[in-house]
């Protein structure tokens, strides 16, 4: 009996001018339904590559991904991606960006009125309904990312893949979006894989934190279970010793991992895909 999402023995090699570059090696991970899992590691360790393989945007050289009993072999809306730079189509309004996704997922099955209502509902979910007629260049970075999340959620994905979604935002905006994401996740009980390099973000949001070793040939180093009760409040957590212990463990791993990585690979690994 497999898990809801199972990544097993995944490795990937990229052809480069200096021969093949092995980015990932033997990545194993099981995610339960409704679980929130963060992948954390230094930049260039290949955590985004893992996400892209689950999304189907990259094909692994070996190993595979099974989601809900089906092998992943191409991208699809059941694995909606929230991109780091939001990836909203700049020529469509906020509403039309979400509607494009809704139409392509529910096009044949639901009425036009239902689809518009569904798109609007998800904009309301991320508190962006007021800006539905604005163009992406007219709204702030945090708002764009909210719309990106609305677009992904509106696809009703089996798993929501988030690729450093808040990495480009200022600290205050990031905190607001993290809180919104926690609220939404509590309501919809989505299965989420979040790529991040922010330790606080990982501890605050996750049920489990997957610590990735440094590339080349990066793999899962350690998995931490975050046993903090939900709903979580960032202010209360700041005083919670368990929170700090978890934070310390992640930091220690990353710090030790980096030294380990530097000793092993003379040249720092480049960000692969």
């Amino acid at each position: 009996m497999g898990a809801y999402l199972e990544i097993s023995g995944v490795g990937i090699e990229f052809p480069t001018e200096r021969g093949p570059f092995r980015a990932l090696q033997g990545v194993d991970l099981k995610v339960d339904k409704g679980e929130f899992v963060s992948l954390i590691g230094h930049s260039g360790c290949g955590k985004s590559t893992v996400l892209n393989i689950v999304a189907g945007l990259l094909r692994p050289t070996e190993g595979g991904v099974i989601l809900d009993g089906r092998e992943v072999d191409e991208p699809g809306p059941d694995r909606a991606v929230v991109f780091q730079n939001h990836a909203l189509l700049p020529w469509l309004s906020v509403f039309d960006n979400v509607l494009l996704a809704v139409d392509s997922v529910f096009g044949g099955r639901r009425s036009r009125a239902w689809r518009r209502q569904w798109a609007l509902h998800h904009l309301e979910l991320v508190q962006m309904a007021h800006a539905r007629n604005q163009m992406p260049h007219e709204i702030s970075g945090g708002m764009k990312q909210r719309v990106g999340i609305a677009r992904a959620l509106a696809m009703e994905p089996k798993v929501l893949l988030m690729d450093e979604p808040f990495g480009a935002l200022d600290a205050l905006t990031r905190a607001h979006l993290q809180d919104s994401l926690m609220e939404i996740q509590a309501r919809l009980n989505n299965t989420v894989i979040l790529i991040t390099h922010d330790v606080d973000e990982a501890v605050l949001l996750s049920d489990r934190i997957v610590l990735m070793t440094n590339g080349p040939a990066a793999t899962v180093g350690e998995i931490l279970r975050v046993e903090l009760p939900r709903p979580r409040d960032r202010l209360a957590l700041a005083e919670d010793p368990r929170y700090h212990r978890l934070r310390q463990r992640v930091l220690r791993f990353l710090y030790a991992g980096r030294r380990h990585g530097e000793a092993e690979a003379a040249a720092p690994a480049e960000e692969a895909a």
Partner: protein
Amino acid sequence: MDSAFPVAPATASRRLAALGSELARRLRRLAPPAAGLLVFALLWQGASATIDTSLGRFPGPLQVWEQAGNLWAEHRRERRREADFYRRQEARNAARQAVDPDYVPRLRPYTGKPTFVDQIGRSLLTVAFGFAVATLVALPLGVLCGLSETAYRALNPLIQVFKPVSPLAWLPLVTLVVSAVYTSADPLFEKAFLNSAFTVALCCLWPTVINTAVGVAGVDRDLANVGRVLRLSPLTRLRRIVLPAAVPMVFTGLRLSLATGWMVLIAAEMLAQNPGLGKFIWDEFQNGSSDSLARILVAVLAIGLIGLGLDRGMLALQRFASWDKGAAVR
């Protein structure tokens, strides 16, 4: 007055001051280009006095201005003559019909020579036709090259070889081919018109092809991935993601193409004898009167101003049609 409206004079003077500073700001903005033009005109007037050509003294700005007025007056005169001609013809026909009710009037078109303004219109029509033909060919070709690496590699050598060919090299070929292929008894277009237009099309094709290809091939990877995640069909992906993403580059290509086309047109018209600005210059050159050089300079300035106008028009169209409102003004 003052005691009744103690505030009024103060606001009025403040408003006047604001108006004054606004005026000063505009003057400062206008001063450099105005000074540039003035210095140029003075240098031109000074230099022209020292150049003696076989057609007399090289014209200065004043003579050119005078000839511009003459050309306009000639245009007005010609239009009056045309109107008179039709009025006389109608009167004559009416008179004959009054005598003989069975008479079917023959309408003769006016056959005066085209004026400078007519020739500008003709040139604009020719460049529009050539540019339209080029765009209809270039856009699909560019999209194809952008989508398919194979198509790009197949077509790139052709593009690179034909791109630098001068319009003067194309024209004889175009002329012969048009003569051979376009043999209608009642031709819709004159051959000279088609020769010029197709030469323009051949020369202004390339910037649109190249820029469209670059725009289509260079779609942001994340946006392309959005299309993949949504499993859009290839056609929907093209329509909803690839083409809109390429629009700014397409417009850059179109602007370059139109500018090239307008430049090429004058040379093509000279040789093809299409009655536009190119033929106007050629005829004045052959005519060799003492006014010819000034009239040619009027045409040169008209060509420059119309070229500027066409470019600004395309830019306005781009601003209107493209989602990328930050399009560069250059």
